[in-house]
Subunit: 201 residues, 2 copies
């Protein structure tokens, strides 16, 4: 079995507990279960893997959020209580309480912040790293205004909840957040949970 | 006398207490005093107004921040105690205490957030407006992740200080921040203060 999480930038793949992030999709000999937030990339997957099975319509998830992305649903589905942060092209911050999704926020991802600054002025060059909240130079001022803003939002909505980080920048963000854990395969855990509920796994 | 504040997007001009925001600079018959954060636009100003006087090297300002933009210096110079927020192409958040600048943060401006979201995915369409911090739809989730993030940062660093807003989106942000005031000519007030100290006004 291969699980594929189609994002806006990458195809995230897990096979035999090994995770890969591909720019281009390949043909698999195994059964393929997938979720997708990108129509174009989904077409590419289905072209090479016509039997690929979309889990979207089979997942059970309790939320009143309209139009919640399927990747967010899967990541949240694996957490009973906590704040789920998926730090990719966008950064989503979702609140789970007793297996119910209470709401969520979408911020630009770290690279999107970098590009946004660069577009405003060539002197606004973000190099993601350590910073303080009373910066005394441009490098720190940019880190506070991006990484710091992301941390600020997480802290604002978390209450006393544990934070679960995933996505390409999840490990990087971990060092800025207390009582947090990085779980690389958080989305895949939700997909596996769904397959178990479907009695396919 | 004409005062010109050259930003990354506009020439901000005050003449006879009337403020204008021009995309293209014009020739003035009056004395011109200016500041600039954009070299290219500064050249355009100086080409049409060769006698224009750059205030940059004449301003007295107490800070340990290295490379603080001259527009931020001027806006902060008019406030003795408070948080100075200039919401333009970028959003700067600076802390003033007893006429000393303690530090500052740079965030993307609201339009930069909008463009950043749009670049990530066409479904992430930011329409700046009201929101809550536990959003249950994409429109609110984007507003919380941008406007909310800006407000979150301001609240985090303000302590009990009053917030002074200026810039193109300053009036818009006013409704989200308590104990705050919008001052359209904040940068110009700093330029006038500088001219008075130079005994030119």
């Amino acid at each position: 079995v291969v699980l594929v999480d189609i994002g806006n930038t990458h195809f995230h793949i897990i096979k035999n507990d090994e995770i890969k992030h591909l720019r281009e999709i390949v043909k698999f000999d195994d059964e393929v279960y997938y979720i997708s937030v990108n129509e174009e990339k989904e077409k590419q997957l289905r072209k090479l893997n016509p039997g690929a099975f979309n889990l979207k319509d089979y997942v059970k998830f309790n939320t009143s959020y309209k139009g919640l992305g399927i990747d967010r649903i899967m990541a949240c589905k694996s957490i009973n209580n906590g704040v789920v942060v998926d730090a990719g092209s966008a950064i989503t911050i979702d609140i789970m309480e007793d297996d119910v999704h209470l709401g969520g926020i979408i911020m630009p991802g770290i690279n999107a912040f970098k590009e946004a600054y660069g577009k405003i002025s060539k002197v606004l060059n973000l190099n993601p790293g350590e910073f303080e909240f009373l910066p005394n130079n441009t490098a720190d001022a940019l880190n506070a205004g991006s990484i710091g803003a992301i941390v600020c939002m997480i802290e604002k909505v978390r209450g006393k909840k544990k934070v679960y980080l995933t996505g390409g920048d999840g490990q990087f963000l971990l060092k800025f957040i207390k009582n947090a854990e990085f779980i690389e395969d958080l989305v895949f855990r939700g997909m596996k949970k769904t397959l178990k509920e479907m009695e396919r796994l």
